[in-house]
Amino acid sequence: MSLRSLVKFWNEFFFAEQSPVPVALFRILYGILVIATLGLLHSDWLDWYGVDGWLSLPTALKLEPGHRLNLFTILPQSNAWVEALFWVALVSAVLLMLGLFTRINSILVFIFLTSLHQRNLYITHGGDTFLRLAGFFLIFAPAGAALSLDSLIRIRRGIESPGIQARSPWAQRMIQLQLSLLYLVTFLSKIKGAPWLQGTALFYVYHLDEFRRFPLPAWFFRPAVLKLGSWSALALEFSLGVLIWVKEFRYVLLALGLLFHLWLEYSLNIPLFQWDILTAYILFIDGDDLLDSMSGVRRHVFGRASGFPL
């Protein structure tokens, strides 16, 4: 490969304009997930982030030192402000989902999520981390260019034509790369451990009481099945990390990844984790394919195409 072809590949990959529909749909689902995350936290909000909660702000700052983007450190130390932060974050996530003042709200949602994580990092799981990272790159994406109130307003005012305006996908690519890196790093971390290579890892995972959700069939616990499961997880994580970029494999791998995460959703109690990850699969679907399936769904549900500008 010559340097010239490398530069060409780079430019095409990050800057060849494409439909913003996948990233717009991702924005909607992302907003829903942030709302759901906040909703699930609400009953214990002050227990986790309040002044008299499980973790005081001075301890949090001592354990995680350094300058950090954390609204809790600049707000007055009172539960009223902590409560207020919840409601502002919720409103911002709703507006992001709707696509109103999209850019501003994507920035606000990222700042809120980062602040929550910085305030109490010890209750977050990988899904939360992925939401935070995807939120960072979403700030730079044309997330309000379609399926948004912003776009509707621009069309009504005659600033924009009703058709889809192609956009540079570099920020979307960064979220895609972040997702594939997530799988690849998980794979690389796992192959360092003997239980994954020996195929006994799932024996431990599925005997941890804290993760149990729905009952599992007895055959699943047979050593051969657990071994096959451990190795299949490794193979799939490697594939979703590397082979997902090969166009011919992409949709097959996305389907397998979907089944994999649905199985984990059924069998392990880590609320929203699987959905946080699965949402980003949308970004790997071709814009035209996504439009066709959305039109199909609309026809099926409403019997006709709606007038909403895509």
Partner: protein, 209 residues
């Protein structure tokens, strides 16, 4: 099909075709616009390249002396911007034991009580959705490197279990553990529970305010 829909569909199709033509002709070229546009594109190139390299060095678990150097270099920015990350769920070795936390409480009048930290496995399906964070927090409370979490937790438990006339005076946090042992035939038999003390904390009056 309404006129409006037909027109919309035609417009969308034409736009797509135009994109395809434009794609082949111009997609890989640099912007031909103003200096400002070129400068903006250059900044984006730099942003993408630096973030890709930094994120890869931050989280790829390879043993190379270069990796800690790069991590140290980007650490201030990653910590500030919230780009820090680790992807090691159940890796490299899954947790090999069931654990939980209890608190032995001694009150001012000499009475005692055992308080059990919320256990997700004993919750209903709905509760599990809302209270899963307790699982993660309990796991972190047991990590040696996070010992500093324990006094805050002890104070919180004291507050939860005190009343003005009946204050908690001592909190002893106890970790209970039952190892998961794989057997040749694949059968799981729960091992007996062991206990050990994580922290003994003398509650001060100001802790209860």
């Amino acid at each position: 099909m309404t006129m409006q829909r037909a027109a919309h569909k035609q417009e969308a199709t034409l736009t797509r075709d135009e994109f395809a033509l434009w794609y082949r002709a111009d997609a890989t070229s640099e912007p031909k616009g103003s200096f400002a546009e070129k400068a903006k594109r250059s900044v984006i190139h730099l942003f993408i390249a630096s973030h890709l390299v930094a994120i890869a060095f931050w989280c790829v678990p390879l043993d190379s002396p270069l990796i800690p150097l790069c991590r140290d270099l980007v650490r201030p920015y990653f910590l500030w911007a919230g780009l820090f990350q680790s992807w090691d769920m159940f890796a490299p070795i899954p947790k090999g034991a069931n654990t939980d936390i209890e608190a032995m409480l001694r009150y001012g009048d000499g009475s005692q009580k055992t308080w059990i930290f919320p256990r997700v496995e004993q919750m209903s399906l709905k509760e599990k959705l809302f209270k899963e964070r307790y699982r993660k927090f309990a796991d972190n409370l047991q990590r040696d490197e996070l010992d500093e979490l324990l006094p805050d937790a002890a104070r919180r438990i004291a507050r939860l279990n005190s009343s003005p006339g009946h204050p908690v005076r001592t909190v002893i946090l106890v970790r209970r553990i039952s190892f998961i042992v794989p057997r040749a035939n694949g059968i799981y038999i729960a091992e007996p529970w062991d206990s050990h003390i994580l922290l003994g904390y003398g509650v001060r009056p100001e802790d209860l305010k």
